[in-house]
Symmetry: C2
Subunit: 307 residues, 2 copies
């Protein structure tokens, strides 16, 4: 089924304890689309870049079967740029630079060909821009997944609450769940957030895995214990991409299928962090993805039969 992905396409410059990069391509929509492309082949990306963005990278997205029809390229302008440095624990980072550039006046335009997407992934963006995308659709998608971050909780909470009322699934990290709900306990936080609109909440805990909640059930997916996390940038977006890509392809939005989708999302995140930027997400084989998913199965499956 068709999947519309909205979010940033950008440049990042990253420093980790393992090394540093010059400007490399990044952005939420880039990671989401690439991760989703291993499951779904009807992806359209809506975003904006400047004319400094390399055409070879646009070609790369297209080679993954991602339509860039909705990717605006602004002549004479520069692409969004973020630079950051990760601490030794790889869980915290300092932002060294944020240059909005083309993103400052981003007015998303959904192409006519995808005005009725089956699935919609709203990557992290200003909540009012996320709403503008939904306003252009001719019918409500089967499933809308929203990613957001603490920055919008600090600066645009009213708009964020309005967006929350329009979506089916929300993905945020544990600190953001605590901020949004005012509850320290993630179980209590989940119930408060589910009362804000989303029917399903995914709380991402980085190296500690992810929790999937609806009002009655909870499911836990681990992160894969890795020898080294090389670069965490994009892990959450890769997770979301694998999640919605799998759902779009299997056309099943039941809680049980979301459990499976979270495992596929976790597998894509585990690839993402093994190299800088999107490097590891480009050109994976189906066998590599299946092997990785099998590692998750082996990691958590046990056999207990209670009488």
């Amino acid at each position: 089924m068709s999947l519309l992905v909205v979010g940033t396409v950008a440049f990042d410059a990253i420093e980790t304890p393992f090394g540093k990069t010059d400007k490399i391509i990044g952005g939420a929509a880039t990671y989401i689309s690439l991760a989703a492309s291993y499951f779904n082949k009807e992806i359209t990306l809506v975003s904006v870049v400047g004319d400094d963005f390399p055409s070879s990278s646009i070609d790369m997205l297209q080679k993954h079967g991602i339509s860039t029809e909705g990717l605006q390229v602004k002549a004479g302008e520069k692409s969004f740029f973020w630079s950051g440095r990760y601490h030794a624990d790889m869980n915290t980072r300092d932002t060294l630079a944020t240059e909005l550039n083309v993103l400052a006046n981003f007015d998303p335009v959904v192409p006519d060909s995808i005005k009725e997407p089956d699935f919609l992934m709203l990557g992290n963006l200003m909540p009012s821009i996320q709403q503008k995308v939904m306003a252009q659709l001719k019918k409500r998608p089967k499933l809308v997944v929203l990613d957001t971050m603490n920055f919008w909780m600090d600066t645009a909470m009213d708009d964020l609450h309005k967006t929350l009322g329009m979506v089916d699934v929300l993905t945020i990290n544990d600190a953001e769940a605590r901020q949004l709900s005012g509850e320290y306990s993630l179980v209590k936080a989940a119930q408060k957030i589910l009362a804000m609109g989303p029917k399903v909440l995914i709380i991402k805990k980085g190296e500690h895995g992810a929790l999937l909640f609806n009002k009655e059930q909870v499911f836990f997916a681990p992160a894969l214990p890795l020898e080294d996390v090389f670069d965490p940038t994009g892990a959450g977006d890769s997770f979301a991409g694998g999640f919605i890509g799998y759902l779009a392809e299997t056309k099943d939005i039941s809680f049980d299928n979301m459990k499976r989708a979270i495992i596929f999302g976790s597998a894509m995140a585990s690839f993402c962090v093994e190299k800088f930027g999107v490097e590891r997400l480009v050109g994976l084989t189906q066998e590599q993805v299946d092997e990785r998913v099998q590692e998750f199965v082996d990691l958590v499956q046990f056999d207990i039969s209670l009488v």
Copy 2:
């Protein structure tokens, strides 16, 4: 099969954001024995208390089928006492008081009736005292599980290494695994620690679950997402008790059975933190334990069949 449990039996005074206690009974061997008693009925406890320790608490242990034949009661002396205050996150705490009392000169004596235990659980104690217990046994148990802590890494590393060379399974938390190995990555830490002696390593991550490693395999068990963690004291010991109690009862020390044992251990830890001290571990029914284990099954089981 018979299970010998060695460790402290003590008084604790605990402050959490939810309240505070006067002196209540605690100690590693108390939690371990109680948790194990839901699976195994051949438990003997070796420890020491002063004559200030209430006989009603000794009765309570006996009612759980735990032999206190090896519990020395020192006339005119006081029991080990620890007091601590947990921070709001429940993961960090300040020690307010530590009074060794009878523990300062603890010379463990294994009763003649249990000189050939099938299973041995060495709860957290000075490593040289743990060795004294092993030296009194007439044959090597089928399985020896060791718990220890950062304090012994700081003050008695040589003795600890000697003890590590004598045991089959080590349980420590993530910070301790990093300290013992000098590796930040838990995967790398595990391989270094497994080269020190133990064939199996369990890394406890509190609310983030636990990892089980041998040289070839890894298994992850989640913690149950709880509305509130009321008092974390004894959670790690309850986990160890459920783990070894289940193994001793099922007589199967394969990696697959250790996976099951870790789930039972996690279930006992999830009970432990729901009330102050050992309160929640006293008088559980088999149905309550089974229901809790089923919650773990529901939490992590999913169905993915790869071609």
